[in-house]
Subunit: 370 residues, 2 copies
């Protein structure tokens, strides 16, 4: 089925890096873009107004969690995810595959699908490619994902088997999909193995899809292994479609990914770090609970335009974190998401200005390696 | 010391109920008014922007908590509480007395003051009237409170002793106070005993203060006992000064208090209830975790103008509460505070229109007794 509702326009390129606009039924997504994660139909502790204020244009939500609670049928009855969580800009749902494989030690995979136990009450459930698509159609996100297995990236033999099954599942997802107002992205797997990644990129590209994703990275492999895969995969995918690197969200990984032709990123990192008091910046992380910030009247990052930095000091935010007041995590979440959105905005500007290679080189030189 | 910075203008009366404006260095407070509580320099989970959006004009913060963490000297160094928490409207701090007496089983009272142990680490501290004023001067709120003992309201003999000591402490607070930009309110005590309350009201009124508070109510006595005291005390206080009923915040208590001449209220109730999923309304409480709301597409209260009701369904908020997402408590907090602010706005309007007696009668008839 053709997706007339979706269009990807590339507005500028610098090397492999691209600046574009992905149009969806809920508005345009300027790329490169970072999507904050709202696992349970909420980006933890933030109102939609606060999310929008960071400049985020795309929010990710998790099929596995929403299927279990409150249930995808309830969300459909309430008018779909956009209305339910009152986020009127684009939403992306994952397929549930990643959580089924990572949160469930008792899962059983077969050719048809996966049987797993709920992490909440231990009850038994079953996902198949068809079921994942049906749930995602109930949720109603703009971008939905093919059901895949995210395998241990370093086991070659298992990756061959798993990748081929994921390919067969993609065919079934494409066949099962019914809603014309949703864009189904296929997912490239293959672990840390160049030949498998090439095979997978070619197979997934053989489907005329509105976008393509790179899965199974940032799951335990080294940065060098990840970047090696990113040297191969994006440019092997259709040029005129958005490329989405799943689960990646540190500043340096965004810069490296964009450099290699990635357009879309998502990650829980900014909100998870925030709840532990770690603030992101273009020059590394600040652990705001450190004693040195107790009387520091500067904002988290000087010159930062986020609500937290415009209104509060490190001293106040440290106090909130020390006494375990929720507002601390909220303010750092706002700052961290803003930081990644600002990074993609600056990257986009640099690509359009033809200076992205310099931007990336300077950024990576300033960013501490650890 | 005269407080030129403070002025209370009564704009209308209906029976004992008054509509006025209390002017402070950080702006005007239209009365009657409800002050949400920001114990640790934060109204739990809300940004100052969200607090302001409820219409709140006065926020309370707790001297005991801020003295312990982050320390009043740190707050002073950071420019005072308004700058520290970035709340640019009026702030009221309590004296620390209530927490010293309620959170500490090991406290020792003597004529000079109270020795107590921190509820955080068990360390020993001492508050005196002079110390409480010094801390509150460091914090820098617009309204500060005299150091008092909030005694068991039903023990007559103890209340005589405690009230007289509180009176002597008031004299010391008045003598200790230095900042002209802070209004010191005295506190009437006396438990549930009319003769003691009269004695205390007369004693406290003998000081020319910018405002007067009624303490030691809503601490275990019955509603009838509280209202009996409120039948006596407010009208015995100076007519042309604001009257503050401490720690009271249920809708029916506000309506009853206003009816008896109270101008200012504060309470943790709206935010505490919110974190447990209980939403306030003019016709009682909704327990939003109840199953009946799972597919309820209405707002918490139809017609309510708060951010939560304007943007979200009961179904969504119930989901957030069920899966323990912080945004649930945040949205219900916004709703509950808005509800109390809206109640005081409507009461004010009714007083100015000369219809408050009817308003109160109708409100109390609709409000469930429990």
């Amino acid at each position: 089925m053709k997706n007339e509702a979706f269009k990807f326009e590339i507005q500028g390129k610098g090397g492999k890096a691209r600046a574009g606009v992905f149009s969806t039924p809920h508005g345009d997504i300027p790329t490169p873009v970072f999507a904050p994660v709202g696992t349970q139909a909420t980006v933890k502790s933030l109102t939609p107004a606060q999310i929008a204020e960071t400049g985020a244009s795309l929010v990710l939500s998790n099929t596995y969690h929403l299927y279990l609670r409150p249930g995808d049928e309830l969300v459909a009855e309430m008018g779909g995810l956009h209305r339910f969580m009152n986020w009127q800009q684009p939403i992306l749902t994952d397929s549930g595959g990643f959580q089924v494989f990572s949160l469930n030690e008792m899962r059983k995979i077969d050719e048809e699908g996966v049987t797993f136990k709920s992490h909440i009450d231990g009850s038994t459930h079953r996902f198949t490619p068809e079921k994942s698509i049906a749930i995602q159609e109930n949720l109603g996100a703009d971008i939905i994902m093919a059901f895949d297995e995210c395998a241990d990236p370093s086991n070659y033999d298992y990756n061959v088997q798993s990748m081929n099954r994921t390919h067969r599942w993609l065919e079934r997802c494409v066949a099962a999909k019914k809603r014309p107002d949703q864009a189904l992205f296929g997912i490239v797997q293959g672990g840390i193995f160049a030949d498998l990644r090439e095979q997978s990129a070619d197979f997934v590209s053989s489907f005329d899809l509105p976008g393509y994703a790179i899965g199974g990275l940032s799951v335990g492999e080294t940065k060098e292994e990840m970047n090696a895969m990113l040297d191969i995969v994006p440019e092997r995918l259709p040029e005129n479609k958005p490329r989405y690197l799943m689960g990646v969200g540190s500043p340096e990984d965004l810069v490296n990914g964009i450099l290699r032709g990635v357009d879309i990123f998502d990650c829980v990192l900014p909100t998870r770090l925030a709840r532990h008091g770690a603030a992101m910046s273009f020059t590394g992380r600040l652990n705001l609970v450190n004693k040195q910030y107790a009387r520091d009247s500067r904002p988290i990052v000087e010159g930062c335009g986020c609500y937290a930095c415009q209104n509060f000091t490190r001293s106040y935010i440290r106090h909130l974190l020390m006494v375990k007041e929720m507002l601390g995590g909220t303010l750092v979440s706002i700052h961290n998401i803003f930081t990644l959105e600002e990074l993609t905005r600056q990257a986009r500007k640099a690509i359009l200005a033809g200076t992205y290679a310099d931007f990336a080189e300077k950024f990576l030189a300033d960013y501490p390696t650890n």
